[in-house]
Symmetry: D2
């Protein structure tokens, strides 16, 4: 039995981690911490877990020793505390933004302050198993990517060698902004919007550049959806491509990937990737179309931001690190209709 | 390995049955039929199943022999054909409205025509394991209840002896009307409504009367939601009740039921049952409140109409009939947020 | 030119009042106050008003003299300050809960504290012109009703003499809770709910009793909608009614009312009242159905909670008081589709 | 009094035209035709118009003589019949796609067949008053633009001289697909999608090229919304621009335009154009941001597809042609919250 803890467990990513860990017979959740929900049952923060566990949130001040620790603290909170946390776990998977960037300079540029533990940055592989499987096994750690970054990196990666000018137009659900209520998340204001919340210069550009070598131009819109991201990647081509070329690039990159599906049908309502049917699943669906005579490849990439975009990738990374079947505990295929 | 077939598999209930059967290692889906999707892959009708199976829909004219057959034909279609279908399966679980009512007279009254196989009616127990577990085992069959009826019967059943005058005000999602497009399901018309689609005289009243002995007054509203039902049951009381009395009735009825949860909290956003966090789960959440000095008990009951309200109850019934753990394959707890 | 001020103008009701006043050529908006938005343009709080006016919010400490003052302060804030405000206006229309109840005892019971100016209560007629037109003209004041109360009172009023036992099941949009963000209005939590936010004992029961004489049993659900209320009133009858009787009661009450429409069609998607097509309009749509053999009359009542449920009724009351055509400035019929 | 007819009045654009014409005291609606709703009251198709008019739909075979005729027939239906219709009206404003393109070759290319009345094409100015005011007055006709085209042309027009490579990523509501129910508009399928319904090669590219000289690369997504379009125009720049340059281009193009607002705020939820607050209004809101160091100008353009994207522009064009104040009957500013 592998013991597991979740540090910072009352947020949305913490809740998904708890759900996924509790569903496993080979894992034992021994601790889940929360300052705000200290002493309360899991289902007070995560109502879907009612009846699944008698656990209560414990204090983040007393950390137990475990095999695998998931850290789901707010951005900026784990970087100075990580050294201490590492003492309590064989493996640590961080889901904040703190360990995604390898370069402390890049961190300073995009997050506006010095990193608290720059020497640890090289010890956390970027947490996409599709790109860093061997490194994860070697280092026993992972830094789960940002959700917008995940959908962009996975859609762009197969084409990184031919993608010079890339415009990314992403649409995301409200859960991506986390659990704290704010004026911008107030239902009458947030409902039904197509809000350009990051018109330029989204922070995830740094991760995308690091992982694909492409400095994308990026605009992110908040849309009417709770879970899910749909990212449209417009790649301008120097020379025309044919459909079979695109298929070739995709197969070369993802032939054996258990969680990447190429979605492209000639009919039906789901001809291209669609986040709404991915809620709860760990799939990353990728589709494409070529603009005839216009030298543009359009790639569509859809994920559940809390699963493949956060907790799902974290669990998948843990499976990789522990030498398990990567799909373990991540079999839920999503629902239709929903 | 238990062999399974789904007769009429391209509708929403058929899709959920396929998802649930395909997730099981102890079941083998050997046939799924569809006239409209004949020859196509499962994921053409059920896009969430992409990559899970290579099966294709076969003709409803050639029925294979199996251990368990789920019939998910349109209402009225299975009653005349059931005799033939019974030859091909040890156990049959019907999800249409055709075998829910025990009394052919009641069927004629509510469905406007004679039943095609009245002699079979007594052989199909009403498909709520909570009420008919022993009978299902004995007869090896079940008729899965209507979705509005499920939420009403399960909420009302514990109080049937004290409920004289009952008003049921139900709110349901668009998937309850099935997969066929119509003017009333056109997105610009259906979106955001609170539409009294059955202001009086909903057919499910017949099932509710049969199962609880109460002839409820019922109004059903279509609301903005794809999956889910929330039924509010207003029970007028002859004499005042205390909270502990209500808890007593509920515990007496459901103490050991694996899929019924009593939801009643003093704080938080999910103090009472909420269908949105039940998508994909088989739970029936029940909550209540007493109207001080007014002799009214309000019972709230929430389900996923395609799960506990259809395919989930059907799988649960199969588990009962096969002598398995009832929870098998129905462990998904639902998502939050969603 | 009639001069108008809005005291407490940055909330949702204040915004609607501003929109309605600015659209009028016979009215001059001379002041709109706000503590939180002091010094900012109207469109900072009310983005739909961009370009319509150069006004800025002024301090609530310096009140100008006007012909008509609308007070849209938070509940509990206007009752102690009203005496002072009355000095600055010929006519005052209050949209808070403070002056709706005639009886200080009732106020204490439902709002949990003593009223600050009980002697003023009799000077504010309940602000439904349909019920208190003459009294408004006489007193030159009005207290705009609560939004849930409006939909219940107007639906129940015609039947008050035959309604003994009444159960009210109301469904309301998120704007009814006002402009302040909270955990319960956080989009991922609020989106898609059918939340029993007032399972019993909603405060508006007091207004309903005062205006109809019926002590209703009431349950209010928050549903997925920003604007709008749909209230279903289940009236149990002592003796059967015929359709024509119901029409008779409705015509007797509302024959000449410009903002009440009886909505009952034999076909189409809008056979009964539907709040979604009332956004921005001042209509109160009322429909009904009789439960055959069950002695129940079901009345459906739909309004826009910010219009007929607040600002619209306030403007209509002003028109009445000023001796104008009641419909002035309230002609917008709502949109379809929306 | 100007007499008006609407030919093809049961669709969504026909309904908006009827609403706008009926709200005017200077216009008399003398005929509204419909094959499908022949003989029925207006409110059977347009429920928001209940109580506003006693008119009924008449046959499209008997056309009355009027001052202004709006044709709102399905695409392809008006081009062969237009010659006959022109005999019955001093002015004709067509809202179909049939007369938008000046060049019959372009029509054949994009609509797949020969135009039925190519000689009439030059007599219909493209129906954006912002670009063709004088020509409309001269010819007395207009061809209302496509809704996606409107949002793209108006956002791109000011920058057409510096826009070489342009990627358009548009998000549209379900009403843009019209009133006919289909599998793709079925609520359970359409709800909550981010569906790339036109991944490349949307027909409106032809209009955009004609009006701006730019051959845009275009992707259109169907999103969760009934009314509204938000179009994001990514313009790659040869050389960097400053904010004041962009303001300069915008002012040069739109300084005195009554229905174009530049929306760009430093705070609040509505810093950029947002379609949700434009429902029912004729505004075209335009905002922008410059990508630092990346030579990209992002332009955001939001409209109500049925108003500025169809019926609103048609009424505005009529006002221009008749020499009236352009804003007449188009004063509704939209609602907030909604």
């Amino acid at each position: 039995m592998t013991t597991v803890s979740i540090i910072g467990g009352s947020g949305y990513v913490g809740g998904e981690l708890a759900r996924l860990v509790l569903s496993r017979k080979d894992l034992e959740l021994v601790q889940i911490t929360s300052s705000s929900s200290l002493g309360e049952h899991l289902h007070s923060a995560h109502p879907n877990l009612r009846g699944l566990s008698d656990m209560r949130f414990t204090s983040p001040e007393e950390i137990m020793d475990v095999d695998v620790m998931f850290t789901a603290l707010p951005h900026g909170s784990s970087n100075s505390r990580m050294m201490e946390l590492l003492d309590h776990a064989k493996h640590v998977i961080d889901t904040s933004a703190d360990f995604r960037l390898n370069d402390p300079e890049s961190y300073r540029k995009w997050y506006g302050k010095d990193h608290g533990s720059p020497e640890l940055l090289p010890t956390f592989p970027y947490g996409l198993p599709e790109l860093h499987r061997a490194e994860m096994v070697e280092k026993g750690r992972a830094a789960a990517p940002g959700c917008v970054a995940t959908s962009t990196v996975l859609g762009l990666y197969p084409f990184r060698m031919i993608a010079k000018r890339v415009i990314v137009d992403s649409k995301i659900g409200s859960s991506a902004a986390g659990r704290s209520a704010s004026e911008s998340s107030h239902h009458p204001e947030r409902s039904g919007v197509i809000r350009p919340y990051a018109p330029v210069d989204h922070r995830h550009r740094a991760e995308i550049l690091q992982e694909t070598g492409v400095d994308v131009m990026m605009t992110v819109h908040a849309v009417e959806m709770v879970r899910g991201i749909s990212t449209t990647i417009h790649i301008e081509l120097d020379k025309p491509l044919a459909d079979k070329d695109v298929w070739g690039y995709l197969r070369a990159a993802y032939r054996n990937e258990p969680f990447i599906r190429i979605v492209r049908s000639s009919k039906g309502n789901f001809r291209y990737p669609e986040p709404k049917i991915l809620s709860g699943s760990n799939y990353c669906d990728i589709g494409f179309e070529l603009d005839p005579n216009q030298k543009r490849l359009v790639v569509f990439c859809a994920i559940d931001n809390l699963m493949k975009g956060a907790a799902g990738s974290a669990i998948q990374s843990m499976n990789v690190i522990l030498g398990l079947d990567e799909r373990l505990g991540l079999e839920f295929p999503g629902l239709h209709p929903i």
